[in-house]
């Protein structure tokens, strides 16, 4: 057993759609609503731009959790993108669960541009959940281990 001085911090990749969730994250910033620095945001035009490959790649490279944020259903800037996201991710997450990968490591959350508080709360909650699971062991690529 290794004893490290610093407590374990998870690595979290958040994909945020440009129009709602990325703006929601900005609003969280404007309002100085803190959440852990473990969260690193990647901006995409729409949640429907997120390919399952990106999620698996994040896990391969050492992410412990991946969260997708998009506009609320019905509010997509592109009218229907997040509806496709919803189907794709429902099936993908169910498949990951079927393979025995902890379902808590993946999440989809709808965050509007007005929901800075929700963004921060979601990230706090997600970080805590993933931290309690510990390091991702089931979808890891040993070559990429630090």
């Amino acid at each position: 057993m290794s004893i490290s001085k610093e407590p374990y911090r998870p690595l979290i990749v958040a994909f945020c759609c440009n129009w709602c969730s990325y703006a929601g994250a900005d609003l969280a910033g404007n309002n100085r609503l803190a959440y852990p620095a473990d969260v690193k945001i990647i901006r995409v035009p729409c949640s429907c731009r997120v390919n399952p490959t990106f999620i698996l790649r994040a896990f391969q490279r050492g992410a412990d959790g991946v969260i997708l944020c998009g506009c609320h259903p019905g509010d997509c800037h592109y009218t229907s993108g997040n509806y496709y996201t919803r189907r794709r991710m429902a099936l993908l997450f169910s498949m990951l669960d079927y393979l025995g990968i902890e379902r808590e490591r993946t999440r989809v959350e709808w965050v509007s541009a007005a929901e800075g508080a929700k963004f921060a709360a979601t990230m706090n909650d997600f970080c805590e959940t993933v931290a309690s699971l510990g390091e991702n062991k089931r979808l890891e690529d040993l070559r990429c281990k630090k």
Partner: protein, 330 residues
């Protein structure tokens, strides 16, 4: 009812060739052993007479060959199809993968194929297999004859046949059947009921055998990409041999995802896997989820139907709810 035999099919194929309706025939060709049947193109009566095979080992789904073959000339191709093959045929048409006008489909009846792998479990070094309504008689080189129940040597995909109905044909031999309420999701449910740890161990055990020969992909009638992402160095997922467990999972998850909503559950992937990985259980998971989340959908049942992943309703299930079923004992 007229009995359908190899000769029935050959004589019809010869007629169609002679009349000029078709100029080539995609069928199955016999080889060294009873099960040694290869998909093959026939262009004349003589070779049909000599080599054409129709029987318990004509499991190969010929629909995928049409993608390339129809592009080769303007002539029409006669192709023989079992009920399950016709679903793949329709799915390929839905995706505009070939021109329907260039194909003449003869639907052939199917009582379920036999699986040489399962026969070997009961009879080593076998040379011939005779099946009739009483069962299957396997002749071996060194152990004499072995009598078996047909169900003992049928592959899973035939034991759990979803349909005896031909959903596409120009001409049908034998009577058409209907769709069957099979137990094809039983295995999936069994896995769903395991704890996450058990599920992980189960799949680790199965997928770790993968040798990345790509047979599952290359035989799959839904995998007809001009360039597969796994062969494309720019895709971010390309690799020639799975270096570790991550890559095994990556390959099979992405492949299953790419065929989700398009997979007709023909079972070719599991048939060809040299390592006997039950790949159909991945595809069936998606099919089961799709049926459960978005209403029953059978890929290939109709040409032009909208696959669940290119469709949506405003009331669809949330991803967070989608994974709540099945493992409450976790």
């Amino acid at each position: 009812m007229q009995e359908i035999t190899r000769d029935t099919l050959i004589s019809r194929a010869k007629e169609l060739l002679a009349s000029g309706e078709v100029d080539r025939v995609y069928g199955w060709k016999r080889g060294e052993f009873c099960y040694d049947v290869t998909p093959a193109l026939f262009t004349d009566a003589e070779s049909l007479e000599k080599d054409f095979e129709w029987g318990d080992f004509c499991g190969a789904n010929l629909s995928k060959y049409l993608v390339e073959e129809t592009r080769k000339s303007e002539g029409k191709i006669l192709v023989f199809m079992k009920p399950c093959d016709t679903y793949s045929f329709n799915q390929l048409l839905t995706e505009h993968r070939f021109d329907r006008e260039k194909v003449y489909v003869i639907g052939t009846p199917c009582a379920g194929m036999l699986d040489p792998k399962r026969i070997r479990d009961h009879a080593e070094s076998f040379t011939s297999v005779v099946s009739d309504e009483n069962g299957v008689t396997v002749s071996t080189l060194f152990d004499g004859d072995v009598k078996l129940d047909r169900s003992e040597v049928m592959p899973d995909r035939c034991l759990n046949c979803k349909s005896k109905k031909h959903v596409a044909y120009d001409e049908l031999f034998g009577e058409d059947g209907g769709t069957i309420a099979s137990g094809r999701f039983d295995e999936v449910e069994k896995i769903e009921k395991m704890t996450p740890d058990e599920r992980f161990e189960f799949w680790r055990g199965e997928l770790s055998r993968c040798i990345r020969c790509n047979a599952c992909r290359d035989v799959c009638p839904a995998c007809t990409c001009e360039k597969c992402v796994f062969d494309n160095p720019n895709s971010g997922v390309e690799n020639k041999a799975a270096e570790n467990s991550f890559e095994e999972q990556m390959f099979h998850i992405i492949r299953a995802f790419h065929v989700a909503g398009r997979c007709t559950d023909c079972g070719e992937c599991s048939r060809v896997c040299p390592q006997q990985i039950p790949l159909h259980l991945l595809n069936r998971k998606f099919i089961k989820d799709i049926d459960g989340f978005y209403g029953e959908y059978q890929a290939g049942a109709e040409v032009g139907s909208r696959a669940p992943l290119v469709d949506y309703t405003t009331e669809d299930i949330e991803p967070s709810d989608a994974v709540k079923g099945g493992d409450e004992n976790a």
